[in-house]
Symmetry: C2
Subunit: 233 residues, 2 copies
């Protein structure tokens, strides 16, 4: 699968933002410099900067240069700390179990994930809150985009930080579909509740800074001890 030339320039810039080499507010090299560094024409470098500007990642100021506008990874990740205790405080349940598995993609995964992957990596995790298993999370990513991920186990608690630092994928946007479901036999066993107990199910499709759908996540929460917080603005 050949990618257009401007993609090379975009990837170079995104990698610098992801690595922290260029901070929000920082200035990028000029079109001429970018073109020379990445071996493309100045027109191609310009096209890359225009696309990054359309995605809200950079801002070009006439006569001054191009500046990074993307939020820092920390502030963007902060939006994803959605679990709260009864007092409304942010909580980060402890990881108590993790299993990684490489497997063929399902039809839905092939249709919705970046690059129509044939193979995906599935990350199964259980988290506990004050010693009580409270969340079952299954994240699925394209195997080719996250090559070697299974060899990095145990993974850090915050997967998006890993995606960013090891693969240059900055998650900035996600769509979630939320419903209430009764605990099935397996979930009831893991979470220590009786079958049929109401649980919160969150299905998330996360997009990276370039708008590519890079992760599907299916999460199940016991909400007798925690709640899910959403802020709309």
């Amino acid at each position: 699968m050949g990618s257009p030339l401007y993609q090379k320039v975009i990837d170079t810039i995104v990698a610098r933002i992801a690595s922290g080499e260029v901070l929000p507010g920082g200035m990028l090299p000029s079109e001429t410099q970018l073109a020379s560094e990445t071996g493309v024409s100045q027109g191609t470098a310009r096209k890359a900067l225009m696309m990054l500007e359309q995605h809200g990642i950079v801002r070009r100021e006439q006569g001054r240069g191009t500046f990074v506008t993307a939020r820092t990874p920390d502030s963007s990740l902060f939006n994803f700390f959605r679990l709260r205790n009864r007092n409304g405080d942010v909580i980060r349940p402890e990881l108590i179990d993790e299993r990684l598995l490489e497997r063929p993609a399902t039809d839905v995964e092939r249709e919705t994930l970046q690059g129509a992957p044939l193979t995906v990596i599935e990350i199964n995790r259980v988290r506990s809150l004050q010693g009580v298993a409270s969340a079952i999370e299954t994240a699925v990513v394209p195997a080719d985009l996250f090559s070697g991920l299974e060899r990095r186990a145990p993974l850090p608690s915050a997967l998006y930080v890993l995606y960013q630092q090891a693969y240059g994928c900055i998650v900035l946007h996600a769509d979630e579909t939320i419903i209430a479901v009764p605990a099935g036999p397996e979930e009831a066993k893991i979470l220590g509740v009786v079958e049929g107990t109401p649980l919160l199910q969150v299905e998330r499709l996360a997009h990276d800074i370039l708008g590519r759908p890079i992760e599907r996540r299916h999460s199940i929460y016991r909400t007798d001890r925690l709640s899910y917080r959403v802020t709309l603005a």
Copy 2:
């Protein structure tokens, strides 16, 4: 409760935005004009514009004037259309029952709603999807901010449009706390499910364009036929 003088200028401007008299991108009168129209000093008018700028409602451009940056009510309201059917399409369940009630505020309402109201108006609504009762919503607003609301029944389906058009309150921000709950006897009866059926409970605190907490809303959804969609960016 006396409000500061600049509040009068803010209210005047917000009312114009809410009514559509000034559109996003449109220019506001100068400080001198605003001061003369509202009977305050130029310094007070400047303070009001600075506060509106801090809230992201206007943008002041040196030597050019002050421009409205607030999103149009339509685009902001669109964010609140959160209910989807199984295909992911936006749905707007039909209103099948509405009851309004003026009553004393609870302690929590007095502590969290604008102006620490002694009295609130409670709007109870039931919505159905294709003939099946699917949502029970209870909205609570301060009685003094929404004076005469109970005489406007039946209310339009979208309350935020009413808040905006009749009271100049533009809802732009909301915090939601989401959990799964078992259907109690009353909910089971209204929604036609057996007691204990998992339901989605959404508690929302909505803020207006000035950051004032103007509505508490408690919603219960049957999610066997619909889902709750959240977009994070």
